[in-house]
Structure formats: structure tokens, C-alpha cells
């Protein structure tokens, strides 16, 4: 556990210095601040827009930060040869991999957390004197769902990084993220697709690709009239889904990385 912790902390400290990730973070902040520019709508419409845009920006910046960070974590260590001196120490390969993974999750949490705080503050300021004001802290549920989605995305990218080049990994991970967001669509095709082959294909796609669409929690936060039956159960179920799926991907990653020559 000690090695995982040391490697995770080192990964966070290195990642927080990466210019490209900081650029996404800064763009995220700038876009959240830009939401102040909406003046021409009614108070309620304006709040809906600010909330929707804020969560959307956090999600988009988070996706890019996660993918760019995760696809490079392992290949960069091999390419720079920093992995040699680390694995020559009493560090097991699974400890190295998990250290990098938890380091990535910590970095993502920091980025998402900072943008989330900026968003909540921006929203609180925007709501001053607005009759349709809601508790801005409720938005953190949306931020939590975005984070859990990114936890899953990160494990997917790390899994592919054990045997694919960063470029291929980038496109594959993003493609699977998009397909996973269309899970209801793939489910329909699995049921109503033309022939058995098409049905079979979409059934496999539907069950194999992580269901990223599950984590959409923006609507209940934006529309007071849209209610989730049991919000606590919905949030818990999604968190468990993300953790279980990510664990399976990490176990597979460990098995592959254990035999990989570095």
C-alpha cells in the first residue's frame, strides 16, 4: 500500500504541472465565468442555462483531462525509462499500476473539484436576488456523477494503455465513451435490429461497453419538475456500477501489465 500511495502522490504532483491539463482547467474556469454574460433571458431561464452550461463545461473539460492524462500514464513511464528504476525497487507491478491509477483519479478529482467550487460560487453569485434561486450545493450531485463517469473512463484508458499506443488509445477510448453514452440507442438496436447478426452485435456492444449514459444527472438538476424516483438509490447504484466496472478493468490491466516487457 505504501508504494501505491507514494506513486499516486508523485503522479498527482507531476500531472498538476502539465501545461495541457492546466490549459483545460483554465478554459473550464473561463467558460464558467462566462456564464455571467447571459443577460437577455428571464431569471429562471438564465439560471437553467447557467447550471446546464456549468455542468457541461465541467464534464467536457473533465473528459479531455482524463483521456489525455490516462492514455499517457504508463507509456510515458516506459518511453522516458523512469519505470526501470521504479520497478527495480521493491515495487510490484500491480502497485505501480494502481499507484498511477489512483494518482490519475486524484488529479481528476482536484481538477473537477476546483471547477465544481468555481461553478458553485458563480451560481451562488448569479442567484443573488433571483426568486428562482436553489441551493447551489445541490449542483455537487451532478459534479459527483461526472466524477464517477470519469473514474470509469480513466480505468478504460489505463486498460488500453497496457497494450495500445497513446494515439490509438485516444481515439478508441473516446469512441467507446461516445458509444457508451448512447446506451439506450444500442439497447434499442439490440432489440429491434434487422437480423440476428446485427442484434447479436449490438447486444454485445450494449453489455460490453461501459454505460456512460447512466451518469447523466443534469436534467433533474436543471428542471425542478423532473424528479428521479429514488435519488439516493440512483446515485448509489451508479457509484457502485462505476467502481465494479473500473475494478474489473483494473484487474485485467494488472494481468496484462504483469507480463508486459518494459
Amino acid at each position: 500500500m505504501n508504494a501505491i500511495n507514494v506513486i499516486a502522490r508523485s503522479t498527482i504532483s507531476e500531472a498538476m504541472r502539465k501545461k495541457i491539463l492546466n490549459a483545460f482547467l483554465m478554459v473550464g474556469f473561463a467558460m464558467i465565468v462566462l456564464t455571467f454574460a447571459f443577460q437577455q433571458f428571464s431569471a429562471r431561464q438564465e439560471l437553467t442555462l447557467v447550471k446546464g452550461m456549468g455542468l457541461g463545461i465541467i464534464s467536457l473539460a473533465g473528459i479531455f483531462i482524463t483521456v489525455i492524462l490516462s492514455i499517457n500514464l504508463i507509456p510515458q513511464e516506459i518511453e522516458r525509462r523512469t519505470i526501470y528504476t521504479i520497478l527495480a525497487k521493491p515495487v510490484r507491478r500491480y502497485e505501480f499500476l494502481l499507484g498511477k491509477y489512483f494518482g490519475a483519479l486524484g488529479t481528476i478529482a482536484l481538477n473537477i473539484g476546483l471547477m465544481g467550487i468555481a461553478f458553485v460560487i458563480a451560481l451562488a453569485v448569479k442567484q443573488i436576488g433571483n426568486p428562482a434561486a436553489v441551493n447551489p450545493l445541490l449542483m455537487l450531485k451532478g459534479v459527483l456523477m461526472i466524477y464517477m463517469q470519469l473514474v470509469l473512463l480513466c480505468s478504460l484508458a489505463i486498460f488500453f494503455s497496457c497494450f495500445l499506443s497513446p494515439l490509438v488509445n485516444f481515439f478508441l477510448t473516446l469512441a467507446l465513451f461516445m458509444i457508451g453514452n448512447l446506451s439506450s440507442f444500442t439497447q434499442d438496436l439490440a432489440k429491434t435490429g434487422g437480423n440476428a447478426l446485427v442484434k447479436g452485435f449490438f447486444t454485445v456492444v450494449h453489455y460490453l461497453v461501459p454505460n456512460f449514459g447512466n451518469f447523466q444527472f443534469t436534467n433533474p438538476l436543471l428542471q425542478p419538475d423532473v424528479q428521479v424516483k429514488s435519488e439516493a438509490a440512483f446515485l448509489t447504484q451508479n457509484c457502485i456500477y462505476a467502481v465494479v466496472y473500473a475494478s474489473v478493468l483494473l484487474i485485467l490491466s494488472v494481468l496484462i501489465f504483469d507480463r508486459r516487457e518494459v
Binding site: V6, Y84, A88, K89, P90, V262
Partner: protein, 343 residues
């Protein structure tokens, strides 16, 4: 398995597939050797000979295709053994955003040290390798010269007071002062009774530091023995002038360097008579006959050169002389044997 051996390699083979072909290349080919505890073992070979591949197998970074490798009686790569060994890779790379004490602290923590103990150890080692000055301590690795990186590499390799050190080209690419410092450090480690598996191109350093030496070529072990054993046998350098004599020497005596109407042959003492006969027979003039102590470099060139001769026929290189570029030729060992057999 010999329990006294620090490193035991038996019939080790590592093959890599050739891209787009149904062939494999042997990076290490049926290698067998043993390194005793407390021994400084020189592992020599030209670029691509299989030195780094062997070290990586011993550290568990890559896996052998066939054969066994063990370190301190445990299979190579065993996590328990990693507490007792250390590794300095060729041109070590570290996290660029960290300073030397931060890097050593990071590696010390990987051994399970608490942060305060790790920092204390890092301070000691950074001082030990000569990076303890205020300026050096606060510099990030990104600003370090190659020599400074190498010193950090040595510092990280000493954290656990290792029983066995694997040093891969520790003095490669360093200036004379840094090289001397690192050689002195290796001599100090030798004095302390450490076991070292030293891969190097700097043959003088190996000759000075190592108890035993092995030379590998194309993954195969060529020779192995103590430095004294391998360098035994007097050598004589004979210089002759006259174009016919130079040509005759180049054709008949292996190890001859020929340029214009001059040739220099380095031969075993018992061959001197034959060489002088060749020069006289071709009407040349003997300029000098100088006894020469054989160096590890001579042995290395002899062995690696012979292997090249066996596969290509001869070795040639262009060098610049006072008269401009000249082609130097060395006849192959096989050709020499054939000619001597005929005579």
C-alpha cells in the same frame, strides 16, 4: 542452484521477433555465468551485444525465452530480493520537475521509509554524490547536466545499502572529471565488499575496478575470467615501412593496421620471428619492435573484431592521416589461418 552465488545465469536465451518476418533474433543466446558474492564483475560487449537485455532479465523487467536467472538464490525479479539490490540504468531518467533530494526521497519511500527518514537519507546521499551544494540541491532535474543526473542515479542506487549493484554504463558520456569521480566511487564500493554487475564501454575503468570480466558478442559469451588471466601473454608491437611489406603484413598477420607504406602489427611474443620474416621477405624495413602489455581494449577488439571477421571477412575503417583520409584494413583471422596453413 549455487547458494553462494550472487548471480546465477544458466542457458539464458532471449529472442525477439523480427517485425514483418517469421524470424527471431537472439538478443541473449544460451548465456551461462555465475557471479560470486563480493565480486565486481565486468560485463562487456559492443552496442547491441545483449548486455542491457541480460541486466533487464536479472531485474525482472523483461522475461527470458529460455533458461534460468537467479539473484541471491531467488528467481530474477523476485520482490523480496529487490530490497537487497539496486540498479543504475544507462542514461538514467528521473521526474524532471523534482530536485535531487526530492527524487532520492521518492525512491527511499518506495523502500517503505517514512517521509522524515527518507528525507534524512536523501540529504546524506545527495551530499555523498557531491550534489549537496545549495545551488545543486534546489535545481530541478530538467536543468541537470548528464553528469549530475548520473550522480542522482548513483544516489538512488545506494538508498538501501544494496548487496548487489547493477550498473549499466555508469561512466558513459561523462567528462573526464565526472568519470574519475564515479570510478572512485565504484572503487570505494569494491573496498566495502559490494557485489557489482558492471556493464561498461569504458574498458580502462573495467580493468581497474573488476575482479572478473566477461565479453559477450551477439548475445553469446565469448570469454570469461579474471582480468589477470585474460590479459596474460606478452604482446609485441612491430612497425615496418615499405609498401610491399605493409601489404604483406596486412594480408598475412591479423591485427595489422596498414596505411600508405607503413604497417603496425600487434602480435603475441612467439609470433615475432614469423612477422619479421614476412617483413624481410617483402623487402621492408623494421622501424620498431616494442613489447606491449596487453590491455582489456586489445582483448575486446581482438574478440569482437574476430567475430566480425568471421561473419564479414574483414573489418575496414577510414581514418585521417597527415596525408589525408586513408583506408585501414585488417585481414580476417580465418584468412590468416588459411594462409599460414598453406605455407
Amino acid at each position: 542452484m549455487d547458494s553462494a552465488a550472487a548471480i546465477d545465469i544458466k542457458n539464458l536465451t532471449k529472442q525477439y521477433p523480427v517485425p514483418l518476418k517469421r524470424e527471431v533474433v537472439n538478443a541473449v543466446d544460451n548465456l551461462t555465468l555465475t557471479v560470486d558474492q563480493g565480486e565486481i564483475f565486468g560485463f562487456l560487449g559492443a552496442n547491441g551485444a545483449g548486455k542491457t537485455t541480460t541486466i533487464k532479465i536479472l531485474l525482472g523487467l523483461i522475461y527470458p525465452t529460455e533458461g534460468d536467472a537467479s539473484v541471491l538464490g531467488k528467481p530474477a525479479g523476485d520482490n523480496e530480493i529487490k530490497h537487497k539490490i539496486s540498479y543504475l540504468p544507462e542514461s538514467p531518467y528521473f521526474y524532471e520537475h523534482l530536485t535531487a533530494p526530492e527524487i532520492v526521497t521518492f525512491y527511499a519511500q518506495l523502500f517503505g521509509m517514512s517521509t522524515s527518514d527518507a528525507r534524512k537519507k536523501a540529504d546524506e546521499l545527495v551530499d555523498f554524490v557531491g550534489l549537496g551544494g545549495k545551488n545543486d540541491r534546489n535545481k530541478r532535474v530538467a536543468e541537470f547536466s548528464k553528469g549530475m543526473r548520473q550522480r542522482v542515479g548513483i544516489a538512488q542506487s545506494l538508498i538501501n545499502d544494496p548487496t548487489i549493484l547493477f550498473y549499466d554504463e555508469p561512466t558513459s558520456g561523462l567528462d573526464a572529471i565526472a568519470r574519475r569521480d564515479i570510478r572512485d566511487l565504484m572503487l570505494e564500493l569494491k573496498r566495502r565488499g559490494k557485489t557489482m554487475f558492471l556493464s561498461s564501454h569504458q574498458l580502462e575503468d573495467v580493468e581497474m575496478v573488476c575482479h572478473r570480466v566477461s565479453i559477450i558478442h551477439k548475445g553469446k559469451l565469448q570469454v570469461m575470467g579474471s582480468v589477470d588471466e585474460l590479459l596474460a601473454g606478452e604482446r609485441v608491437e612491430i612497425t615496418a615501412t615499405g609498401s610491399a611489406a605493409a601489404k604483406a603484413l596486412a594480408d598475412k598477420v591479423p591485427g595489422t593496421v596498414e596505411a600508405a607504406d607503413r604497417a603496425v602489427s600487434i602480435v603475441p611474443a612467439e609470433e615475432v620471428g614469423n612477422v619479421l620474416a614476412v617483413i624481410q621477405g617483402a623487402g621492408g624495413t623494421v622501424v620498431s619492435v616494442i613489447p606491449k602489455r596487453r590491455s582489456l581494449e586489445d582483448l575486446f577488439v581482438e574478440i569482437v573484431g574476430e567475430r566480425i571477421d568471421a561473419s564479414t571477412g574483414s573489418v575496414s575503417a577510414t581514418v585521417t592521416t597527415e596525408d589525408g583520409p586513408a583506408n585501414l584494413k585488417r585481414v580476417s583471422a580465418n584468412k590468416y589461418k588459411e594462409m599460414m596453413d598453406k605455407e
